[in-house]
């Protein structure tokens, strides 16, 4: 157990370092822009803005946030202090809303959409892949090319097709938004129903993509496991196939958990784009609006939040993994 605690702290430390690095990148990248970034950004931004007091306020906010006249390390300290307070400054494009305000409104939509979708896709994909490995024959022959095709389908493409087929043509689901445009977020039955209906298309378009990739991975893992020595031995001890298949699925599933951890970063990217297609009120759409509005503070904060989310998910999965797989646990405690 002591060994395991050390492992846990080690992992925690590692994620902390990664976070610091990501944070630094987030800080440095905008400052690497050619020319004077603040002047460039604010000048470009001020063109499209009629409210002169607003421009002034943003300019001051921005100078304070960036502290461009101060040395780099001091700028970093200021940035750090502000971020620690949850202060990311004002949003350019949605002034007078603050960045923190905008993010708070969209963050939960994204979390509620993406993580369940990724997990569900992972579960369905793994089940299908394992079945393909075990049943072989026709099922495998149909499922595999389909999985390869689906997993290589661009995520936004899947979203667009879902929208055209189920939204525009069949009119089963609304084509955009997270809830009916005539509703105000509340805990009413009508609102929840609307949210559920709006949830379906973005959710399944992410799920379908995730299924393909996971099914392929699981199939190879399961084929590998089916050839393992313990399968042969268990068969010779008279254990029935259904039980052995249970062993195999479990053991093949475990490495897939690492695969899930490692692919969450990539999946989130695709899922963000799916949000955009459906104008889902999550981070993806916020990000798009921020980009279109040249809203630097908002972009910077969104990317930071997404990074933190992905890091956190990875950490949780890695820790959980150790509890599920005795082999990994043994290595971890070593």
């Amino acid at each position: 157990m002591k060994g395991y605690l050390r492992y846990f702290l080690n992992k925690l430390g590692w994620f902390a370092i990664t976070f610091v690095f990501a944070f630094l990148l987030n800080f440095i990248l905008p400052r690497l822009m050619p020319g004077d970034p603040v002047a460039a950004i604010v000048a470009r931004f001020a063109q499209g803005m009629s409210n002169s007091t607003g421009v002034q306020a943003i300019y001051e906010q921005y100078v304070e946030l960036f502290g461009t006249n101060k040395p780099m390390w001091e700028q970093f300290v200021i940035y750090l202090q502000n971020v620690a307070k949850g202060d990311f400054g004002f949003s350019f494009s949605q002034y007078p809303r603050t960045v923190a305000d905008v993010l708070k409104a969209s963050l939960w939509w994204t979390i509620a959409l993406q993580f369940p979708a990724i997990i569900v896709g992972w579960l369905i994909g793994n089940t299908l892949g394992a079945l393909a490995a075990y049943l072989k024959g026709g099922f495998d022959k149909v499922l595999m090319p389909l999985s390869i095709f689906v997993s290589n389908f661009p995520p936004f493409g899947m979203a667009v097709i879902f929208m055209v087929v189920f939204g525009v043509n069949l009119k089963w689901f609304p084509t955009s938004g997270g809830y009916g445009f005539d509703l105000i977020p509340s805990f009413s039955w009508q609102f929840i129903q609307s949210v559920i209906i709006h949830y379906q298309m973005p959710f399944w378009s992410i799920v379908i993509i995730a299924i393909g990739g996971q099914a392929i991975g699981m199939r190879s893992m399961a084929i590998y496991e089916l050839n393992a020595d313990y399968v042969k031995y268990s068969r010779f001890m008279g254990i029935k196939d259904s039980k052995i298949v249970g062993y195999v699925f479990r053991n093949a599933m475990l490495p897939q958990i690492t695969g899930l951890a490692l692919s969450i970063g990539t999946m989130v990217g695709g899922a963000l784009v799916a949000e955009i297609v459906f104008s889902y009120p999550g981070l993806g759409t916020t990000l798009l609006r921020a980009v279109l509005g040249q809203d630097y503070p908002l972009i910077s904060a969104s990317t930071l939040i997404i990074t933190v989310m992905v890091l956190f998910a990875n950490f949780i999965i890695e820790i959980l993994y150790g509890f599920i797989d005795p082999r990994i646990k043994a290595v971890q405690a070593d």
Partner: protein
């Protein structure tokens, strides 16, 4: 080496993927030779012309006219003029006029028109009908009557001297022109986009640019990954630790986020296709580096490497002839994956509005971006986005098929 390539081409999956990819490549290479138009020329005024052959009306008038008596001509003409909504409206009226619903078939134009002319009465008051609706029916009736009249259409021109309209020609309903005698016509197999540009030409140019982006990104990523992986794996020690530290960092930081940040920081003016490709390449080498490293570590202690050292070969020679050939298949597979994910990454960025600047060249991602901004998917203009999606999917699908095929050749465990 020949043996391995032969084996790879025995894999059905690989051959299938390769054929698709080669076809795409050939089209991209040869199409511009036959259709040399610049891909971003604006042809049409207006958005989203549907696919088809566009014949110049003006030139049709001056083309030789032939008289053809075709039985179905009138019915077809009417059928094409009578839209679905009109048919539905006619049906509604007829039901209101007391015709049993079972007897009305909106698809049967002839019967529908007979029923209409037998029953329509502009003065008849249908309960619940708005005034606007009543006027609509009157207009519809007139239009249908006009369609039925056997009169010729008249072509007039303003006389430049008198300023009067003068009839110069009449066109009968039985007049036809031979398409090959019309001076101007244009085939738009995939219609036009929101700016009135020929989608097919644009798509092929975009495919070329996207493939280039993919290749540049893939080669950059593979080179970086290969170099770092070789260094980490072969040299080991502190070098390995340092490289693995950076690699682990980049593994957990979502690449897409990094891409967004860098692309945005570069700024719209600087973002050419090549820059985007380089940025994608710089952010996606991690997997190659990891894979190469683990391969090299297992090779490093193999006896043939030791024996090569004992034979007095230099490190460069050992890496080139004793390490690289063993990992070549993995590196090629990684490269293929990088190319296809590079194409996807570009598309993702472009949809976010962070793609290459839009003025010079189209890319697959930009085409999607334009279609989305102009709401092609909601307006039902499928030709603006479907061909692009299919192209992207075909490219990535074919590349991954090749990869899976190769994987089965090189990984005996996956053979079943």
């Amino acid at each position: 080496m020949k043996h391995i390539i032969q084996q790879v081409f025995h894999s059905g999956k690989f051959v299938f993927g390769f054929s698709i990819f080669a076809t795409i490549l050939l089209i991209v290479i040869f199409y511009p030779l036959f259709v040399p138009d610049p891909p971003l020329t604006i042809l049409g005024q207006g958005t989203f012309f549907p696919p088809g052959i566009y014949v110049s009306v003006y030139d049709s008038l001056s083309a030789t006219s032939y008289t053809l008596n075709l039985d179905e001509a009138a019915a077809k003409r009417i059928a094409s003029k009578l839209s679905q909504e009109d048919r539905q409206a006619v049906k509604e009226w007829l039901i209101a006029a007391g015709i049993p619903e079972a007897e009305i078939d909106p698809a049967n134009t002839e019967q529908l028109l007979d029923q209409w002319f037998a029953n329509y009465d502009s003065k008849k008051n249908v309960p619940g009908m708005t005034n606007a609706k009543r006027n609509y029916y009157i207009r519809l009736n007139n239009a249908l009557k006009g369609l039925l009249s056997p009169d010729a259409a008249t072509v007039s021109q303003t006389n430049p001297q008198t300023g009067e309209m003068e009839q110069i020609d009449t066109i009968n309903q039985t007049d036809y022109v031979n398409v090959s005698e019309v001076a101007n016509l244009r085939l738009l197999p995939l219609g036009t986009d929101n700016f009135g540009r020929d989608i097919l030409t644009e798509l092929i140019a975009a495919t070329r640019v996207s493939l280039q982006i993919g290749f540049v990104a893939g080669i950059i990523a593979t080179l970086i990954g290969l170099t770092l992986g070789l260094l980490a794996g072969y040299v080991g020690g502190v070098v390995d630790d340092a490289i693995m530290f950076v690699t682990n960092l980049f593994t957990v930081i979502p690449t897409f986020v990094l891409l967004i940040l860098i692309s945005f920081s570069i700024g719209q003016e600087q973002r050419g296709a090549f820059t985007i490709a380089v940025v994608i390449g710089l952010t996606s080498w991690v997997w190659t580096a990891r894979a190469v490293r683990s391969q090299v570590i297992s090779l490093r202690n193999r006896d043939h490497v030791n024996l090569s050292k004992l034979s007095g070969h230099s490190i460069v020679h050992i890496i080139l002839s004793d390490i690289l050939p063993y990992i070549a298949s993995y590196v090629i597979m990684a490269l293929i994956l990088q190319i296809s994910s590079g194409i996807l990454a570009e598309a993702g960025l472009s949809i976010l509005g962070l793609g290459p600047r839009t003025t010079e060249v189209p890319t697959l991602g930009l085409m999607i971006n334009w279609a989305m901004i102009y709401q092609a998917h909601i307006l039902g203009n499928w030709w603006a986005y479907m061909p692009v999606l299919v192209t992207i999917a075909l490219i990535t699908f074919s590349m991954n098929l090749m990869n899976t095929g190769m994987d089965q050749v090189f990984n005996p465990a996956l053979r079943d």
